[in-house]
């Protein structure tokens, strides 16, 4: 089984539309939405949830006013500014380090495990999907990403799948790091803009740091051909395998509005370009020996 993780650095370059299309084109695949912070893949795949699980991770401090002696020890120790002068913990600022709980001389600080979100096993018209929903403003997104990837991988192995297709988050921080470690390859979806190229460089460097092979495609290439070709040239010098261009095409948006992938939507040029991209990605991954 090969795991391909689709990332981008910059947000809004078309990751999820491409993952949805690849899901429609692949055979014997398991799907994973690792963008747990703002998951969108389910909006294209209309999954039927088969299993729903709580995601608990980390702890939050809570001061019991009955037991508290107002000594203020916790206030002095907390490095996250999570305790107010009148000794109430702000759960949004609490980092879950437990220092206040450990040292409280009155034993007045509880430290329960927190419910940070939910994750799901679902069925879709293109195979099983493992996805999640991180609670709004919650932490531990990296842990939830690791969890959904692990479960998706387990399901893939049980089903003898050939492909695990993972929709990654934007950026280069904690959830992205959790998304790419140990993958067969990442496909970086760039766009022909100064931001697209800048962000491609940073996320490409991240893939290199974690020794994951990087493939690159340029979406919306015809909005700025000079920029698109510049990315192609950059990939050659940086050692990323360049996979080709996709057009700017309002059909991607129209398909999304109808909750369809571009593959199902019509037979237009956008579909043809995505099919060609998928075939090239498959060849690139089959040519390399990297497996999961």
């Amino acid at each position: 089984m090969k795991e391909l993780v689709i990332i981008s650095g910059k947000g809004g370059t078309g990751k999820t539309s491409i993952v949805g299309a690849f899901a429609a084109l692949a055979r014997r695949q398991v799907l994973c939405d690792a963008d747990v912070d703002a998951a969108d893949l389910h909006l294209l795949l209309s999954p039927t949830v088969v299993e729903r699980h709580d995601f608990r991770a980390g702890h939050k401090a809570s001061i019991d006013p009955e037991r508290c002696t107002q000594c203020g020890d916790c206030l002095e120790r907390c490095r996250f500014g999570a305790i107010s002068p009148d000794l109430v913990v702000d759960p949004l600022q609490c980092e879950g380090c437990g220092v206040c709980h450990h040292f409280c001389p009155a034993g007045a600080i509880d430290f329960p495990e927190s419910l940070c979100g939910e994750w799901y096993f679902s069925q879709t018209r293109f195979g099983p999907l493992v996805h999640a929903r991180l609670g709004i403003a919650e932490e531990n997104s990296g842990k939830l990403v690791s969890l959904v990837r692990k479960e998706a991988r387990r399901m893939g192995e049980e089903n003898h799948a050939d492909w695990l297709l993972t929709d990654g988050p934007p950026g280069i921080g904690c959830p992205v790091i959790a998304s790419i470690g140990g993958a067969s390859a990442v496909l970086i979806v760039s766009e022909p803009t100064v931001s697209g190229l800048h962000d491609l460089n940073r996320v490409g460097e991240l893939a290199r740091h974690f020794q994951v092979p990087a493939l690159v495609c340029v979406n919306k290439a015809d909005l700025h051909w000079d920029g698109a070709r510049q990315i192609d040239a950059h990939c050659r010098s940086a050692g990323y395998a360049f996979m080709g261009y996709l057009p700017f095409d309002a059909d991607f948006t129209r398909a999304q509005v109808e909750e369809k992938t571009i593959i199902e939507y019509n037979q237009g040029p956008a579909r043809d370009a995505v099919v060609a991209l998928w075939e090239k990605v498959v060849r690139a991954l089959q040519a390399s020996d990297v497996g999961v």
């Binding site: 947000g11 403003a137 280069i172 100064v194 962000d199």
Partner: protein, 294 residues
């Protein structure tokens, strides 16, 4: 006065609005500072080409165990919630990249064997473009924790002046770190299923923080009217609609400021600022009568 620009979904136009608002307002407001808090992928500088005058490295404090003093009691490992310390019978291991800098290990060690080490989070760069002050954070590639660096960038908010914050996408801890303490949040979205889904999450995050907000719809003619309906139902003011315009996409692609290459954008930005000020109520009193100034 701090106005943050956020979105939930990435790529909806946060940076376009933040950078163009900042440049349009620098002649209107006496003091304008733009903070790029999207430290994972900071992009405002590509459009502003600021002159940077200072770079500060930002470090996290991490444990460095002095094995000459360590009694291998394991108390530091026990208090650490982040698995950043492993104590074996004759070996003390630290994993600095997992450390959240809570200081628990320093406080708990009976032998004073935990020394202060450090891990580079990234840099905060300060500069300007004419009268516009600009500060950005740049997370070190490979570093997982953005919020402490974002908080450092936020410390540069200019006291009495107007501060604009370009926030990261999403709704988790980096976004909260960027938005906390703002006086107003402008949510930029697009009228698609993905745009609405992520907008709903972002609205939830802003409500938790209790900050007034408004919505701008970008590429408002590519999709349907789901955002307008949502805004109406949730009673969130709709402050701006920007139809798709190929000239805008091309200027953005090249790194050009719209207020400089498409003159009508200056007026659009001032109108948006007026709309924000009407909703927020605490800003924009200094430029009455600017209508004739274009």
């Amino acid at each position: 006065m701090i106005i943050s620009i956020a979105s939930g979904k990435g790529g909806t136009g946060k940076t376009t609005l933040a950078a163009n608002l900042a440049v349009a307002l620098r002649n209107i407001e006496p003091e304008v500072t733009l903070l790029d808090c999207d430290v994972e992928e900071p992009n405002d500088h590509l459009f502003l080409s600021p002159t940077f005058t200072r770079t500060n490295e930002i470090w996290a404090e991490v444990p460095d165990i002095d094995t000459k003093l360590c009694a291998y009691c394991g108390k530091c490992q026990e208090i650490c919630q982040f698995n950043a310390i492993a104590i074996l019978p004759e070996l003390a291991l630290t994993f600095p990249e997992l450390c959240h800098s809570c200081g628990g290990c320093f406080m708990v060690c009976p032998e004073n064997a935990v020394r202060s080490g450090k891990r580079l989070l990234g840099v905060v760069e300060e500069g300007s473009r004419g009268p516009l002050q600009f500060v950005q954070g740049r997370l070190r590639v490979g570093e997982a924790m953005a919020p402490p660096l974002i908080r450092k960038v936020r410390e540069a908010a200019g006291g009495d002046g107007l501060t604009l914050v370009d926030a990261p996408p999403g709704t988790s801890c980096p976004v909260m770190a960027a938005l906390r303490g703002s006086d107003f949040v402008l949510l930029v979205t697009e009228p698609t299923p993905f745009g609405l889904n992520d907008l709903e999450l972002a609205v939830g995050a802003v409500r938790i923080l209790g900050i007034p907000m408004g919505i701008a719809i970008n590429r408002s003619d590519l999709g349907d009217d789901r955002i307008r309906k949502f805004a109406g139902k949730e009673k969130i003011p709709l402050l701006m609609e920007i139809p798709f315009d190929r000239r805008v996409a091309e200027a953005y692609a090249k790194g050009e400021l719209l207020v400089e290459v498409l003159p009508e954008w200056r007026e659009k930005m001032l109108t948006l600022y007026d709309a924000i000020c009407r909703v927020q109520g605490g800003c924009g009193n200094g430029h009455n009568g600017r209508e004739g100034s274009q």
